[in-house]
Symmetry: C2
Subunit: 508 residues, 2 copies
């Protein structure tokens, strides 16, 4: 039947039917209702019990490690080494958010006792963040664990106390279903409400999901076009809801003349490894590399050309991504002033493609060259002077990252680069590569449009804030306040009468 | 000429031309460019110098106190007592944000040193919030100081380091111009960039402002219709920007049966004073009061009826607000099951109107009765049982506030009310009235749509976050980091390797 969900193998291109079906409109409505129906219970679990739930989810994911990785490798061809690492990152992320909950700062608990101020008497005011309610999460194709069903959006939303309805990505439906079952088992194992996680299948179901009145926010990692389509559905809702789209990244990387001279020969192969990693299907892939017009720059280009020529064919995730990649390669090849430097090994099986490398002079950088391209390709931009470099950077759209390779004690040019890119970068990477996004307190994975909506991160501790909103209580009796706002509660950081106060040691 | 801006007097209805003119499209473009051009310098001032700038603005506003209040009283008829208090609140707000800057927590400075984790090695990561760039602010009609040119949006945006282009409200153009001049003088007095504050006039200029490519966020306090119109312009931009609209509030207030019995006679006149305050032109006006069907409830209604009958006529701000008020009164009078209880004194001068009071049984609460109405009117909803009360509350839209009057040691019913209203309330007020929004660390002035976009506040310390976005630095050399992220910087709270760390006493 037409509403059966298929699973494809990138290695062979073969498609097989699964037992999964596209979720009907009525079922999307019903599942969103069930999710929202569990919101109160999920919130009332409190920080400690929700942290235990996240740890339990990490356990069940680990217990199903082999089955999950096998299914994901079959559906994505990303290889078991990468997928093992990705699943480890994914379970780490659940445990990390458990730590964020136990630490408690994320609540922003704030107490102003009644008193007099220069503007007159002030009543007792207490404020903290509370969950938004059920949220929709869209799995991404390129990270079947870390940014899909059990990914950062799901982990941070559940941590916040928001039930989650996931839209499974078409590229890995069986992995999605297994992940969903592991999540649900982890939730049930600690007696938390199983309805707090739901899954839907099919593009129509995704559209219904973002329009559903029980959905209070949407987390999305995917293409700019896909994000804009969802955003326009959201704009048609009676009640606007936040849309957190992580959409696009060109991720320029600059090698300063002094860095090329000092370390060009070691940067070149690492840079090729970064843009071909995971078949170039990272939102943080360095798509544009600025290399100086100089003898050491020439040597870097020669080394990169050689490395790309020797690079093996890799499988892209879907036939759609593979044909888009071929289309973009053709566009790049036709662009004015562009030279194709290298073509790696290719392979005619499934969705396999070869890596490619192009180059252009900075003065000829056009719109065709500065848009994200999914796949193992990058464009080297040669620049002569500092002014040429800064002009070219100044014409780029915003990105998730900007990387700068510099030499020891070099500050002036890097500082100018940072000034130029500050308004359009989420993360600056020094002497490194943007692929790889550590889950950490200080992480930021975002950036001005079209990277994401600018104010929020989709990786790291503060990703939880996307799913929380403030509430204030004025002159409330103690017993009607949340525990964290009562007098004498001392186990989390709070701001009391303007002064940030750490938890008392005994209680911690 | 047609593009001259007029100023009206609510006391006489007379209109006079001013020397101000509607800002042309080209001038809006130019002024936004000037504002954005000062962004870098404003950011580079740093926290201490920007705090001094805010204090200086407070000083110049105070130095122009008399001229400002005179102009505002002429254009709004709100009276000098109220306007003196409002201007004091406004200067307090600038000094409060100076304190927020000096304290420094708002930067969310976070450092994770390089190390190994369960997911592998982690690079050195440092994160803090940076300003968005120039923002647009729309002055509101009902608070010519506190929510207009020198209001909370302007103060929090300048504090964040974002230049501000204000759209002056038509209801008080001369007050707006004087306020703008005071802001600019305060900025110039400390050598900060004068271009960081700009003003535009006229509705067309407002539409140009939100569409301008140099504008990175919009703060708006006004009607739901006005907000939706701006939002639809923003949706048409190439780059979406955040819209912070504070739009609408019905602000239900509940008196429990036990509270009516214990304190009904004192609640009744205070409640009338709250909904007639400032001619009922507060976004926090209690527009719906739930009073039990009981002898003490009857007594409350009688006392409120008497108080409204005796209440003096008041001037509304504009002829538009006055005619909308009369229209809504007619609608309320025609609504099924509604009884008009009282009509206060009226007056035929200018935009003067009388206060009114209506009542209805909770079972007959209709959409007509549950929409915000600007002006000195409220609707008493009588409820028999707890179930009737909760059913009626459960059908309301979201509001900025929900107020609950309860008796000593009463917890069960208030807790059910809070549960019912939690998903649609920004601030719970106990045994008090929602009018009056203290500027404080723990304040929240917001709430789910249509009160505002749900995640942010427009009053209180965290209002600054609307105009900030995160940036992360990975493995950055010390000299390329912002001062607050360098090793050894100890004068603000920071999170270091996951641990929240207070400033060291010596430096503070």
């Amino acid at each position: 039947v037409s509403d059966t969900i298929s699973s494809s193998s990138p290695r062979t291109g073969a498609t097989r039917a699964t037992e999964l079906r596209a979720t009907s409109k009525a079922d999307v409505r019903r599942l969103c209702g069930l999710a929202q129906g569990s919101a109160h219970e999920l919130e009332r679990l409190g920080r400690e019990d929700r942290a235990a739930m996240l740890d339990s989810i990490a356990d069940t994911l680990e217990n199903n490690h082999e089955a999950l990785v096998t299914a994901a490798d079959d559906e994505t061809a990303l290889g078991t080494t990468r997928l093992n690492g990705e699943l480890t990152r994914t379970t780490f992320q659940f445990r990390f958010f458990a730590e964020v909950l136990r630490e408690g700062s994320y609540l922003e608990a704030t107490i102003d006792h009644a008193g007099s101020t220069a503007m007159g008497p002030r009543p007792d005011l207490r404020r903290m963040l509370v969950p938004l309610g059920a949220v929709g999460v869209f799995g991404a194709s390129n990270f079947p664990f870390a940014f899909s069903v059990p990914g950062g959006d799901t982990a941070s939303a559940l941590a916040a106390g928001c039930p989650v309805v996931v839209k499974a990505h078409e590229a890995h439906p069986l992995t999605s279903q297994l992940s969903f079952e592991a999540l649900r088992a982890g939730i049930e194992a600690v007696g938390a409400p199983a309805d707090a996680i739901q899954i839907v299948y099919g593009r129509d179901a995704g559209a219904e999901l973002v329009a559903d009145p029980d959905i209070h926010a949407v987390g999305f990692t995917g293409s700019l076009g896909g994000g804009e389509a969802l955003l326009s559905i959201i704009e048609g809702r009676d009640e606007p809801i936040p849309f957190y789209g992580e959409l696009s990244g060109l991720n320029p990387l600059v090698v300063t003349p002094r860095a090329a001279e000092a370390r060009g020969a070691s940067i070149a192969p690492d840079l090729v490894a970064s843009f071909t990693l995971g078949a170039g299907q990272f939102c943080t892939k360095p798509g544009l590399a600025f290399i100086p017009t100089s003898p050491s720059g020439d040597e870097m280009v020669a080394l990169m050309t050689e490395a790309v020529r020797k690079s093996p064919a890799q499988y892209l995730l879907t036939t759609g991504i593979a044909s888009a990649y071929e289309g973009r390669l053709a566009e790049l090849g036709r662009a004015v002033g562009v030279t194709r430097l290298a073509v790696g090994d290719s392979d005619s099986n499934g969705f396999a493609v070869g890596s490619q490398l192009f180059t252009v002079q900075s003065g000829q950088l056009s719109k065709t060259l500065t848009q994200e391209c999914f796949g193992p390709v990058s464009v080297i931009v040669r620049y002569g002077t500092q002014a040429e470099l800064l002009d070219a950077l100044g014409a780029l759209e915003s990105s998730l990252t900007t990387s700068i390779h510099l030499s020891d004690d070099e500050a002036e040019l890097p500082s100018l680069i940072e000034q130029t890119m500050r308004g359009r970068t989420g993360r600056f990477v020094y002497n490194g590569y943007p692929t790889g996004v550590a889950v950490a307190w200080a992480q930021h994975h975002g950036g001005p449009w079209p990277s994401t909506n600018s104010l929020h991160t989709s990786v790291g501790a503060t990703a939880i804030r996307r799913f929380l909103r403030p509430v204030a209580w004025q002159s409330a009796p103690q017993e009607l306040l949340p525990a964290e706002l009562r007098d004498g509660f001392t186990s989390i950081p709070r701001r009391v009468d303007g002064v940030l106060t750490l938890p008392t040691a005994e209680v911690r």
